[in-house]
């Protein structure tokens, strides 16, 4: 009974560690070696479009609404203390430090991550990866690498766009609707937001999230059981694992950046 349970724990530990190993090997194989810009650049541009540009709409809409809700909730609290002039810093700091990178990463995992896993899983199931290998073309370099770099480049940019739109959304609700003074909204924001402490830390966060999400998405697709059931499971796993990983890393990074 106990031996049984121990064995099961051991088995799942070993398979988890082996999964990490395979994921590492995949990334290693994809990124190691001399990049070929002549062939690589068009592939990268295409993936920047698929991963980045096609994610823009969901990022814009979510950013706008999150900014508007933040302003609404923040105003209700601040107005009790007569501090509604601080609405600008409240909205911008919440977005830059936390909500921007985190929500972007979560949306990215749902929109682009799941699509990547499904795409690569399908390529595996329909033997496209195998046939590429038989044509002496390395699928890691050809398929995985451009998607990885595109994700790493896109995510911080998407997070910055999310922040900008969110701050505009806060302005829309706070200033246009609730009547906060426009001058104090912007000037208090300018006085309280620090380029390095707030903006750059947010960018660093979203770079880390980008690495985590895109790595998980690519690995789950590449490692998927090549059946329709296996692909659907891998897609779900990507969204769940990547979201949890983002939240976990966010806590660690926040503790390091703003903890002391």
């Amino acid at each position: 009974m106990i031996a049984d349970r121990l064995q099961r724990i051991g088995h799942s530990t070993i398979s988890t560690v082996a999964g990490f190993g395979r994921a590492g090997l995949m990334l290693f194989g994809a990124l190691l070696g001399k990049p070929d810009f002549r062939k690589g650049f068009p592939l990268l541009v295409k993936q920047l479009y698929v991963i980045g540009v096609l994610s823009l709409l969901i990022i814009l809409v979510s950013g706008l609404f999150i900014g508007m809700v933040l302003a609404l909730q923040g105003y209700n609290v601040l107005v009790k203390f007569g501090a509604e002039g601080m609405l600008g810093p409240l909205v911008s700091l919440s977005l830059l430090r936390e909500l921007g990178p985190v929500v972007t990463a979560l949306l990215f995992a749902g929109r682009a991550g799941s699509a990547l896993t499904a795409e690569i899983g399908l390529m595996k199931a329909t033997e496209q990866l195998s046939s590429m290998e038989m044509m002496a073309v390395d699928p890691l370099r050809r398929i995985i690498a451009p998607r990885f770099w595109a994700g790493v480049i896109c995510m911080p940019l998407l997070a910055l766009i999310f922040n900008a739109v969110g701050i505009l959304g806060g302005h829309l609700v706070g200033v246009e609707w609730l009547g906060v003074d426009a001058g104090s909204y912007w000037s208090a924001m300018q006085a309280n937001v620090d380029l390095y402490q707030d903006v750059m830390n947010g960018v660093i966060k979203s770079l880390v999230f980008a690495l985590v999400v895109i790595w998980i998405a690519l690995h789950k697709g590449y490692d998927a059981v090549p059946t329709s059931e296996g692909i659907s499971r891998a897609t779900t796993e990507t969204v769940v694992t990547a979201s949890l990983a983002v939240l976990g890393f966010d806590f660690i990074l926040t503790a390091v950046m703003f903890g002391g």
Partner: protein, 268 residues
């Protein structure tokens, strides 16, 4: 004599997890001939092709391709060797996001520095050979199963390989496209001086085009020879397979306890 043999498999053993697939198997593929590998489904015929292509590594034994042991080649040597072989997958495995033309051009663009005008000509020649020149702007999703396989065949011969491996080329084809593919395999083999390895369990088609046939079962080769020799093979297992009999050395019944005992159990 030695150079006449393109692939020489010696004492090949391979297992998947705990399940042995091949045990000490020997096989030779003559240059310029169509060699068929037949056997019941589920015995790892596709695995054999992946072993030859170096996508899987055997537990022991040698797989010599042009005298060089595939499992021992370094990564770059293996990639060089793969440029001389190509494989037609069961599904065709066309790249779904490219047109038929770009699919056929893919290996040329990857491995040569030919100008685009020349690539265009080569691609059109290859597509003409499989009768799909008019379908060059279609996407793979718009092709029927038989056409997809022919397009994949055009891609497989794009780099003029020495060896082409067909994985179940006849599976799931209607009689017409089956006939087309049978003819193409034979014609391409003769016209381009290819060596062909056909893995299949469609006895009639295989016997009609193969120069030499291996029957694989029970983890090793159980019969070999020209189609003529095989028809006269004394082995009951080979005969059962060739004639498609339901019962014989390969039993109709999955392994189970004695029938009577199990029925009696219910009445007890």
């Amino acid at each position: 004599m030695l150079s006449e043999i393109l692939i020489d498999i010696q004492g090949l053993s391979f297992s998947r997890g705990d399940r042995p697939i091949y045990r000490a198997m020997n096989m030779q593929v003559q240059r310029g001939k169509v060699t068929a590998i037949m056997g019941p489904s589920g015995i790892g015929k596709t695995t054999l092709l992946k072993l030859i292509g170096g996508q899987l590594k055997p537990d022991s034994g040698k797989i010599l391709f042009e005298g060089r042991d595939i499992p021992r080649l370094s990564r770059s040597e293996l990639y060089q060797a793969r440029k001389k072989m190509s494989m037609l997958f069961q599904s065709g495995a066309l790249f779904t996001e490219m047109t038929v033309f770009d699919n056929v051009a893919f290996p040329l663009r990857e491995h040569t520095k030919l100008p685009e005008s020349l690539i265009r000509r080569i691609v059109l020649m290859k597509l003409e050979a499989v009768g799909l020149r008019g379908a060059r702007d279609l996407m793979p999703a718009e092709l029927s199963g038989g056409m997809a396989r022919r397009a994949a065949l055009a891609r497989a011969i794009a780099l003029d390989p020495e060896l082409i491996m067909y994985d179940e080329p006849f599976a799931g084809q209607d009689p017409i496209s089956m006939g087309v593919i049978v003819r193409l395999i034979r014609e391409l083999n003769n016209a381009l001086g290819l060596t062909s390895v056909v893995v299949s369990h469609d006895v009639t088609e295989v016997m009609s085009i193969a120069d030499y046939v291996y029957v694989v079962a029970d983890k090793t080769v159980i019969g070999e020879g020209t189609p003529e020799q095989l028809r006269n093979d004394p082995s009951p297992l080979v005969q059962q397979f060739l004639r498609g009999e339901a019962d014989g050395p390969v039993p109709f019944h999955f392994k189970a306890a004695a029938y009577q005992d199990e029925l009696m159990e219910l009445t007890r």
